[in-house]
Amino acid sequence: MNSVVETHELTMRFGGVVAVNTVNFSLQERELRCLIGPNGAGKSTFFKCLTGQYRLSHENGRVLIRGTDVIGWSTHEVVRLGVGVKTQVPSVMNGLTVQENLWLSARRIHGWTGADGAVDEIAGELRLTDVLRRLAGELSHGQRQMVEIGVVLIQRPWLVLLDEPAAGMTGNEVERLIAVIRRINESASVIVVDHDMEFVRMLGSTVTVFHQGAILIEGPAVTVLDDPRVREVYIGNRAR
């Protein structure tokens, strides 16, 4: 199988702190992968290294997206390869309506004439039709998460990176989100960063556990989440 994302010896330092430590990671076509780990494990830093949000040089290792070395690339160049990114804190344009947010994203892929149709389609799919004319900043946290996911999906990416997509969502919204992620995964590879164990369990994907900037263990969710090492470094008493 072809790798969609590969990292070789990826390392990221902030002063004396090694946030990502020689990580070798691989994601296959149409794979759904969850990255988990305690706070400060390096998940989000790793995530940002993949998307060009940190400027890297080859001293930091290599990042290959569908075989293209993207080290040193800007975020917009990585995204233009067909990568969709949802950030940890909902990153939408609060002063614009939901419709305008979606349109701005759709415009780049679907063109001036096709953008309107794409907005209606994704709004229907994510049940955002009723809030299309409201300012994104007026919505609840969960709704803004959904708007951001819409903004990402409307570009039809083949690689989707979701950083804590379920944060702040209600039970119903989480169930809907899981259905959406599974549907995305039918046509795209997906990386989900989260530390909500229940959410990860419900997704039931392959899990990669980060600890102190490095990969601790990788495997199916059912195996990894019950691994004593994972319990020790991350879950603690909560999972018992």
Binding site: H76, T87, S91, E100, W112, D116
Partner: protein, 349 residues
Amino acid sequence: MIAWQSVGHMRWGWFLLSAAVLILLPLVTDTHTPTLLLIYALFALSLGMMWGYAGLLSFGHSAYFGLGAYTYAIAVINIGESTGPLLLSMAVPAVVAAVIGAMMFYGRISDVYMGVITLVVTLILFKFMSATAGDAYAIGAARLGGFNGIPGFLTLNVPGYPELSLFGLPTYYISVAALLLCYLLCRYILARSFGRVMVGIRENEARCELLGYNVPACKTAIFTLSAAMAGLAGCLYANMAEIVTPAVFSLKQAAEVLIWVIVGGLGTLIGPILGAMVLSYVKFLLGEQTLIDNSLILGVLLIVVVLGIPSGVVPALIRVWNRYLRRKRKREAQGAARRRLGIPSQEHP
């Protein structure tokens, strides 16, 4: 097509009415002061477009206004005809802004640092131009003249005919045309994808980058366009004043345009235009009295507006008008419902 609330839309009725008023104005008044007001309005529009829609605050936008004025004066002295210098007065500020903008935006400098850099640029130009009094400071036949500036150059002429000067009333109409065309250009940009991306950058730069838009390139482009418009205003100012001095780069000039835009209202095109016209006119009127320093009065006015209506006068008026329309529609709907149901209308004593 989805209508964007945040970029506004062209109101042709108001535009044509304003154009008619400006065209007919010379029938009832002298054109000297209106020309100056139009030039200041164009200058404020250039900053208002960039600041209000792309969120890029340049504290030293007078640098490009001044560069436009100096470029015109130097070029027209050397060329002897005004068409080329007019174009250069837009091109030179645009090129300078493109270089400075690219350095700032690709270097990820924004917010307050951008304000400081732009302010420093204009202050450097002010200091430099003030220190160019000697004979050594000349570009071709044009002596820069230090603090006294460059006087007595050719004003705009009919293209190709240097002897046919366009000074006076024609300058007024050229200023009207420049303002209206720049307004239409801004409206056109805002109605296109680029304008919408610009607003997106103002709202959330990181998200725009994550949507695949080249944010530094977009910011550099709008900075360049804004500088070209400011340069055109500077050129028209030089023509009207018939002298260019380093005062065009001064802190006072840099601060005044900010005040016009803030008081007029960010996020609209008409706000900065009206802000510049009204405040400049108030300044002229205040200049006729010696009781109180007019800068003091303008300062107080700025504080009152910033504290009372932080969004600016025009956006506040638009809000009041929209509220009135909503209430009117609601009352009409209630009246129609009462008539339909046969309920007598409630008369208030």
